[in-house]
């Protein structure tokens, strides 16, 4: 349907105007949404289980050393 937005279409005509070197940068809507999507995930609260897991691994290791 939307063939003209694919990589095969519109080549050349606006080459000088697109200019930017980072097509996923903050100047593009997709770049902005991508960051927004990811930042939402990164800022989610981390469940306790991961810190507990690392403490357990640490404990297991120090017990091993004593043996």
């Amino acid at each position: 349907m939307n063939i003209m937005t694919g990589d095969m279409g519109g080549r050349g005509a606006k080459r000088t105007r697109t200019g930017g070197t980072n097509a996923l940068g903050t100047n593009s809507e997709i770049g902005r949404k991508l960051k927004q999507y990811y930042d939402t995930l990164v800022s989610e609260e981390v469940p306790e289980r991961f810190a507990e897991l690392l403490s357990q691994l640490e404990k297991a290791e120090s017990n091993q050393k004593k043996d």
Binding site: M1, N2, M4, T5, G6, D7, G9, G10, R11, G12, K14, R15, R17, T18, G19, G20, T21, N22, A23, L24, N27, S28, E29, I30, G31, K33, L34, K35, Q36, Y37, Y38, D39, T40, L41, V42, S43, E44, V46, P47, R49, F50, A51, L53, L54, L57, E58, E61, K65
Partner: protein, 182 residues
């Protein structure tokens, strides 16, 4: 050799990013947290293979990614069919004046093939360079660039973004061609 406190703190600090990457790959919160847990255990057990002073986040992302694909293989992966893309096209309304709803974006992202989605996340969101992303994915830099390019075109297509001025295909083509020439 004992695991240093610094290493443990580095792992703790990386957890939010690891969860975000795992979520981007698996699109499922339970699977994502299982992936992160497995990654932490693996990283802990092979901490000696981590070279101090190198990028621990990239190292951890590599472990997580390998774990993701090995779990997919074990499960007999859920193949993404092209019907999914059509569904997304029907589900997402054309954006007005380039303003997209975040949920529409998430749905569109979900429709990308895994390799394209991970490339676009690593480059466009996690802040890795093309070189780092190539290392994480175990492929050539040019492969990452072409995946990012295809992902971007596909997202534009699914979301029906025109706006060639802002992010036409030329911008990234120039980038890919420029670095190949170097």
């Amino acid at each position: 050799m004992a695991v240093s406190a610094g290493f443990k703190n580095d792992l703790l600090a990386a957890i939010p990013s690891l969860r975000a990457f795992a979520m981007s790959l698996s699109q499922n919160a339970d699977k994502a947290d299982d992936l992160v847990q497995e990654t932490l255990v693996k990283a802990w057990n092979k901490h000696e293979s981590f070279q101090m002073g190198t990028n621990i986040k990239a190292w951890l992302f590599t472990i997580l990614r390998n774990e993701f694909y090995s779990q997919m293989r074990k499960r007999g992966r859920e193949v993404q069919d092209s019907d999914g893309v059509m569904t997304a096209r029907l589900a997402v309304h054309p954006s007005q004046h380039g303003v997209l709803d975040l949920e529409d974006f998430r749905v569109a992202l979900e429709q990308l093939p895994d390799d394209q989605r991970e490339a676009v996340i690593l480059i466009g969101a996690s802040g890795f360079s093309y070189e780092e992303a190539a290392e994480i994915c175990g492929c050539a830099v040019g492969t990452i660039k072409s995946r990012v390019s295809r992902a971007r075109a596909r997202l534009q297509d699914i979301l029906q973004i025109a706006g060639e001025d802002e992010f036409g295909p030329d911008a990234i083509d120039a980038q890919v061609m420029g670095s190949n020439a170097a």
